[in-house]
C-alpha cells in the first residue's frame, strides 16, 4: 500500500469511526434533546426536525473537529440556534400580529436557554412528557409504537421497519401522520394531570409491552432482530420505571419483561424448536435479569398499593423464576395471583391460565372442571391453547383417547408449524 493510499484508508477509517461515535452520541442524547425542544416549540415534529438538523451539522463537523467535550450540550445549542434562525425568518414573513407575538416570545425563550445547565428533574419531566405524547390515545396503536421507538428509543425509520417486517415507507408514513395528528389535535406535550394519569400511563405501558411482545413472539430466522426489539422494550421500560419510581405498574412492567426475557436462552432448542417452560433447562436462565426482575418487583410491592396487571404478571413470572426445578413451583400462589389478575382483567385467557395453574396446584380433575366452564367462551373459540390444556389434563388423568382428540384439535387450530408438529406427535401418543 502506498503512503497516499494508507492515509486515505486511515481517513476513511476515522470517518467511519466518527460516524459510529456520532451514532452512539445520538443514541444517548436524542430523546432528551427532542424532549426539551418539544417542550419549547410545543410540536414533536418541529422538535425532531430541529434535532435532526443538529445531527446533520454534527455529521459534517465532528469527523474533522472531533466529538466535542459535552456533545449533548453542543447538539442542544446547535438545534436552538437553528430554531432561532428559522423563527427569525418566519417573523419577517409573518403578517398577523398575534402570530408574530407568539414567535417573538418563543425566540426569547429559546435564547434564554442554557444548553449545559438544564436541571436534571426538568430533563426528566421533558422526557416523560415526550413519552406520554408519543403514546397518546389520539394515535393509532401502531403509530404510538413507531413514534415511541423513533423519538424515545432513537431508532431510525429503517430499523423500525426491519424490526416489524414492514416497508420503510409504511413506517415513515405512520410517523409523519402521527406527528400531524398530534399537532392537529393540539395535544399538549406534558405529563398528564392526576385525573388522566392512570389511563394515560396504561397506554404508555401498553405500547412498551407491545414492543416487547413483538420480539417475544419471534419465529426462527429473524430472531436476532427480534431479540433487539425485546432489549429495546426493556430499555424503555427501565427508563419509564426510573422516571416514575412510585408507580407500581411501571416497575411491574420492567420486572415482567426482565423475568420473561431471563428465560430466552432456554426457550429454544438446538434446532430452533420452542421448549415449553416445564422442560426448560433452568440453569440457562439469565441470572442477571432474574435478579433485576425480582428486585424490581419487590420495589413495586413495597409501594404498598394494590398490584395492577403488569406487577401481577411479574409476580407470576417470579414464581417460576424462584423455582429451581419445576416441582418447586409455588402453584398455589400462582393460582392466587391469577385470581387477582382475573378480578382486574376478566379476560378468558387469564381464566384459562388460571385453570392450568389450578390443575398443577390441586390436581388435573380440578383444572379440567374449570376448563369445562370455558368451552362456551366465544373469545376462546379457535384458540388452540384451550384444547391443548384440556389434552394435557386428560392425559394426566389417564384418559388418553380423549386427550389425543384434544391434541389433534389443538394442532388444527395452531398457526405455528413447529407447534403443530409437537401437538400432532402428542395426539399420536408419542411424547
Amino acid at each position: 500500500m502506498t503512503d497516499k493510499a494508507r492515509r486515505a484508508a486511515g481517513r476513511a477509517m476515522s470517518e467511519r469511526d466518527a460516524r459510529r461515535a456520532i451514532d452512539a452520541v445520538w443514541r444517548i442524547e436524542s430523546a432528551r434533546l427532542i424532549a426539551a425542544l418539544a417542550r419549547m416549540t410545543g410540536d414533536v415534529g418541529v422538535a425532531e426536525d430541529l434535532a435532526q438538523d443538529a445531527l446533520l451539522v454534527a455529521l459534517e463537523r465532528w469527523p474533522e473537529a472531533g466529538v466535542p467535550e459535552n456533545p449533548g450540550a453542543w447538539l442542544m445549542a446547535t438545534a436552538r440556534n437553528r430554531a432561532i434562525d428559522s423563527l427569525r425568518h418566519r417573523e419577517i414573513a409573518a403578517r398577523k400580529e398575534e402570530e408574530l407575538g407568539r414567535e417573538v416570545e418563543l425566540r426569547s425563550r429559546l435564547a434564554e436557554l442554557d444548553p449545559a445547565a438544564a436541571a436534571s428533574d426538568e430533563i426528566d419531566d421533558d422526557l416523560l412528557g415526550l413519552i406520554f405524547t408519543a403514546c397518546h390515545p389520539v394515535l393509532a396503536p401502531e403509530a404510538r409504537v413507531a413514534l415511541t421507538l423513533r423519538l424515545v428509543g432513537s431508532l431510525s425509520t429503517a430499523e423500525i421497519a426491519r424490526a416489524f417486517l414492514v416497508k420503510e415507507s409504511t413506517v415513515a408514513q405512520r410517523i409523519v401522520r402521527a406527528k400531524r395528528s398530534l399537532a392537529e389535535a393540539r395535544v399538549p406535550i406534558e405529563v398528564p394531570g392526576p385525573e388522566e394519569r392512570e389511563r394515560r400511563l396504561a397506554a404508555v405501558l401498553e405500547v412498551i409491552y407491545a414492543i416487547f411482545n413483538e420480539g417475544y413472539a419471534a419465529s426462527v430466522g429473524e430472531e436476532w432482530i427480534r431479540a433487539d426489539l425485546c432489549e429495546e422494550a426493556m430499555r424503555l421500560g427501565r427508563v419509564l420505571a426510573g422516571l416514575m419510581p412510585r408507580e407500581p405498574e411501571a416497575l411491574g412492567l420492567a420486572a415482567l419483561m426482565e423475568l420473561t426475557a431471563a428465560r430466552f436462552p432456554a426457550r429454544t432448542g438446538p434446532n430452533g424448536e420452542a421448549i415449553p417452560l416445564p422442560e426448560q433447562d433452568r440453569a440457562r436462565w439469565d441470572l442477571v435479569l432474574i435478579g433485576r426482575g425480582l428486585k424490581g418487583l419487590e420495589r413495586a410491592e413495597a409501594l404498598g398499593r394494590p398490584l395492577g396487571p403488569y406487577a401481577l404478571q411479574a409476580a407470576i413470572a417470579a414464581c417460576h423464576a424462584r423455582a429451581r426445578t419445576p416441582e418447586q413451583t409455588d402453584w398455589e400462589r400462582i393460582v392466587a395471583l391469577y385470581d387477582a389478575l382475573d378480578a382486574i382483567s376478566g379476560s378468558p385467557v387469564v381464566r384459562l391460565n388460571r385453570a392450568v395453574a389450578v390443575g398443577m396446584a390441586f390436581g388435573p380433575a380440578a383444572g379440567l372442571e374449570l376448563l369445562e366452564g370455558l368451552r362456551e367462551e366465544p373469545a376462546l373459540r379457535g384458540y388452540h391453547l384451550l384444547p391443548a390444556a384440556r389434552g394435557e389434563l386428560l392425559e394426566r388423568l389417564g384418559r388418553d383417547e380423549e386427550a389425543a382428540l384434544e391434541f389433534s384439535r389443538a394442532a388444527e387450530l395452531s398457526g405455528n408449524a413447529r407447534e403443530r408438529e409437537v401437538l400432532l406427535a402428542r395426539a399420536g401418543g408419542r411424547r
Binding site: E231, M234, R235, L287, G291
Partner: protein
C-alpha cells in the same frame, strides 16, 4: 449487547482509601444517568486485593492459593459495570462521561460479554452442559 466496563485499581484503592465525598457524589450522578437511560444492569466496587486471593493452576493440575495483596496495581480490578447497549461505541461513549474514579491517571477497560450465540458451532453440547453446571452452582450460591 452486554458490555462490561472494568475500573482498574489505583494506589489509593489498593490501600483501602475510601473515595472522597465529592467523588462519591459525582460517581452517584453518573450511575443515576446510566440507570435512567436503562443502560446499567449492575455495577459494584471491589475491596482491595489485600482482602483477596488467587488460585494458581499448575500445568500438572496442581492448585496453589496465593493471598493478596498483589503488586501490579494498574492491572488489578477495582470495580465494574455491566451495561446493556445497542453498540460497543455506545458503551465507550458512556464511559467517556464517567468521572475519573481516582485522583491519579488511570483506565477503565471496556469489554463485550459473550452470549451463548457468540459460541456458535464451537459451543458443543458437552461445553453447554459444563457451562450449565457452572451456572447451576452459581445459582445455588446466590
Amino acid at each position: 449487547m452486554r458490555v462490561m466496563a472494568i475500573v482498574k485499581a489505583s494506589k489509593d484503592s489498593e490501600a483501602g482509601v475510601m473515595p472522597s465525598e465529592e467523588m462519591l457524589a459525582a460517581m452517584g450522578e453518573f450511575n443515576e444517568e446510566m440507570v435512567k437511560a436503562g443502560v446499567m444492569l449492575a455495577g459494584e466496587g471491589l475491596h482491595p486485593t489485600s482482602k483477596g486471593a488467587r488460585v494458581s493452576f499448575g500445568g500438572d493440575g496442581e492448585r496453589t492459593v496465593i493471598d493478596g495483596p498483589f503488586a501490579e496495581t494498574k492491572e488489578l480490578i477495582a470495580g465494574y459495570w455491566l451495561m446493556q447497549v445497542r453498540s460497543f461505541e455506545e458503551a465507550v461513549e458512556w464511559i467517556k462521561r464517567c468521572p475519573n474514579p481516582h485522583d491519579e491517571p488511570g483506565e477503565i477497560e471496556i469489554r463485550q460479554v459473550f452470549e451463548a450465540e457468540d459460541f456458535g458451532e464451537e459451543f458443543t453440547p458437552e461445553l453447554r452442559e459444563q457451562e450449565e453446571r457452572i451456572r447451576a452452582r452459581a445459582e445455588r450460591n446466590q
